[in-house]
């Protein structure tokens, strides 16, 4: 398993280099101009100089190599310096700079990441924790009233888009009942119990909207996987051994049913980091999804490129994690 993991990690390097090239080439096709948002009073020749100073008049392979150097050498070195307080070299390195804000992209991402992880991450965890028991019980009592109700609710959760459900919960809980705020305050800092309660309150609505979607998806998977296994012969064997239903279902069936579900859950984690673009917009959560959509609209190529590439890294990484988990859960799968 260890050699498999190491081998896969090495194989990820060419994969990611290739992905970065594709992202670079596609974004290069975008007709955006880093000077477009500058005041109109700047004369064209100055604009050309600004572009030249950003290295944009270089041929494409030089620009790609420069980006590689910035992202894979300069940024990591900078991170190490920040974390350890050491100084490596002369410290004069070109970082990946956002065209919109003129600050390093990685710093902006580091600022935005906590909001996304708080809201989307919590929703993901909550969604899974609700989905698994629902899926298990729906399958165990297939076609019961609980199962039918669960099917109906998950259908709703699947089919209602967050720009509708988000506005709906705002109207109900923020406007009519006034229980929770409709806008997520990014500047809120948790220092004591009271501020923690405020944080919880402002998280509830976006988490609710996202968790509905996640619960719908995962509980369907869980139910289907449980149903696949409940009719297997080994379940009859377990019952014939005189085991209680809880052991039969929660040990024998569940362990088998979790194999595909864990994969789905692991593959969904990169989406957590990717943020929930629409939900973040509805609740004004200043997260990564918000950042990405703003960068796309502003033609901020370095930000879009960096974010997209980080998502690619996460997807590759969690694919590997899913494969490793698969091997741990299913003894029939051995990678060595």
């Amino acid at each position: 398993m260890l050699t498999f993991t190491i081998r896969r990690l090495f194989m990820a390097i060419p994969t990611l280099l290739f992905i970065s090239l594709i992202i670079f080439l596609i974004l290069d096709l975008a007709p955006s101009d880093p000077t477009a948002s500058l005041p109109l009073t700047i004369p064209p020749e100055v604009r050309a100089e600004i572009r030249a100073s950003l290295g944009l008049d270089e041929p494409i392979h030089i620009r790609f190599a420069l980006w590689l150097q910035q992202f894979f050498v300069n940024e990591p070195l900078n991170l190490i310096e920040q974390w350890t307080g050491l100084t490596i070299g002369d410290g004069d390195r070109t970082r990946v700079i956002s065209w919109q804000t003129r600050s390093p992209v990685v710093d902006i991402i580091a600022q935005r990441m906590p909001q996304t992880l708080w809201v989307v991450g919590t929703a993901y965890v909550v969604g899974i924790l609700i989905a698994l028991p629902i899926g298990i019980y729906s399958a165990y009592r297939q076609y019961s009233i609980f199962d039918q109700a669960g099917t109906f609710i998950t259908m709703v959760g699947f089919s209602v888009p967050p720009f509708f459900s988000g506005v709906l919960v705002i109207v109900i809980f923020a406007v009519q009942l006034g229980w929770f705020p409709s806008v997520y305050d990014t500047t809120h800092v948790v220092v004591d119990w009271d501020s923690f309660v405020v944080q919880l309150k402002q998280m509830i609505l976006p988490v609710m909207v996202l968790a509905l979607q996640i619960t719908s998806q995962i509980s369907r998977f869980m139910r289907a996987s449980m149903l696949d296994n409940l009719n297997q012969d080994y379940v009859r064997t377990a019952r014939a051994k005189g085991l209680t239903e809880s052991v039969v279902v929660m040990v024998h069936v569940l362990r088998n049913s979790m194999i595909p579900v864990v994969t789905v859950i692991a593959l969904g984690v990169p989406q957590v980091f990717g943020g929930a673009i629409i939900t973040e917009q509805v609740f004004k959560v200043n997260g990564l999804g918000h950042l990405l959509i703003g960068a796309i609209q502003g033609g901020d190529i370095p930000t879009v490129q960096t974010l997209t590439f980080i998502f690619a890294v996460l997807i590759v990484l969690f694919n590997l994690i899913a494969d490793v988990l698969y091997g741990i859960l299913d003894p029939r799968i051995r990678y060595d």
Binding site: D233, K241, N256, P331
Partner: protein
């Protein structure tokens, strides 16, 4: 019942199982009665769909209910009526005093747990053994069923065993708590012939060694001839003939039994013979049978067979048959 000399370890009286589904009822087991004496090997034969397995699953609460509804006069096991027992009481019997071996060893073991875990489960549940004690016993059990290198094999997963070895593991699980009765549901059907013979030998050995009673469900008359003491022939969810094994083969009374015996191909003799078959399909009983379920495929059937369902008439000391036709006279039975 017919011979009351020895007490029965298992006594099934008038067992009925009905599956109530959305698309109607299926009467899978209809008034089945039989008994099983300590140390005896009872063969149960019949085609697929004759209700053999469902009968055995029903008496210990292994059919899914709903849709199944199990009723009857009683299933007496060591003085306890299993039909009126609670789920907890049934669980205390299953896997402890009644063991099961199922047909397909490829799918009957849980693929994600090692065989040691699966073997230790009943030991820890029913015998209250500690993990260490259960491990020692599990190793003994694997040795008992003839798995070499038992200590190491406990850590192996089912997919690391061959089909025959997996069936041995299944048998070890069934035997874990020294059951009084072992129900073996076509345990050799999924295995190839040489492995079948090994498993048969093993079962005979174990029966002699451990002295448990065995119910052996099969559709293979050759297996029955080699292993059983008494035989139940089932058709349409009911027992159509019951006799000691020699008697059954020498002197079959029911037209279905006779037809079954004729379908066994002969190795000796003329080769040009076509294989004998029983034409038609066993019935799916949508209602409780009020006529003989075999009449449509029976060449001896007459008008009474369509009006009445025959009960089991004694024709010998331990021999009874559910048929209106009498092979002795070649005419209707005087009942």
């Amino acid at each position: 019942m017919l011979d009351g000399a020895q007490p029965s370890v298992l006594d099934v009286k008038d067992l009925k199982t009905v599956f109530k589904t959305r698309r109607g009822e299926v009467h899978a087991v209809n008034n089945v009665s039989f008994h099983l004496k300590a140390g005896e090997l009872l063969g149960v034969v019949g085609e697929s769909g004759s209700g053999k397995s469902v009968t055995m699953m029903s008496l210990i609460g292994l059919v899914p209910a709903p849709p199944a509804v199990v009723s009857g006069e009683g299933v007496y096991f060591e003085g306890q009526n299993l039909l009126t027992a609670t789920d907890d009481e049934l669980r205390a019997v299953r896997g402890a005093r009644i063991g099961f071996v199922f047909q397909d060893p490829m799918t009957s073991l849980n693929p994600v747990f090692n065989v040691g875990f699966q073997l230790m489960e009943p030991l820890r549940k029913h015998m209250g053994m500690s993990k260490a004690k259960a491990r020692v016993r599990a190793k003994e059990l694997l040795e008992l069923v003839g798995i070499p290198d038992a200590e190491r094999r406990l850590k192996d997963y089912p997919h690391q065993f061959s089909g025959g070895m997996r069936q041995r593991v299944m048998i070890a699980i069934a035997l874990a708590c020294d059951p009084k009765v072992l129900i073996a549901d076509e345990p050799t059907t999924a295995l190839d012939v040489t492995i079948q013979a090994q498993i048969l030998e093993l079962m005979k050995d174990l029966r002699d060694k451990l002295g448990m009673a065995v119910v052996w469900i099969t559709h293979d008359l050759g297996v029955i001839a080699g292993i059983a003491d008494r035989v139940l022939v089932m058709y349409g969810g009911q027992v159509v003939e019951h006799a000691p094994v020699r008697e059954l083969f020498a002197n079959p009374k029911h037209p279905y039994t006779r037809a079954l015996l004729e379908t066994v191909p002969h190795v000796r003799g003329e080769r040009a013979e076509r294989l004998e078959v029983i034409e038609g399909q066993p019935p799916i009983l949508r209602a409780h049978p009020t006529a003989c379920p075999f009449r449509d495929r029976c060449d001896k059937a007459f008008d009474r067979c369509a009006r009445e369902n025959p009960s089991r008439y004694p024709v010998g000391p331990v021999h009874d048959v559910a048929c209106f036709w009498d092979p002795e006279t070649g005419g209707a039975r005087d009942v």
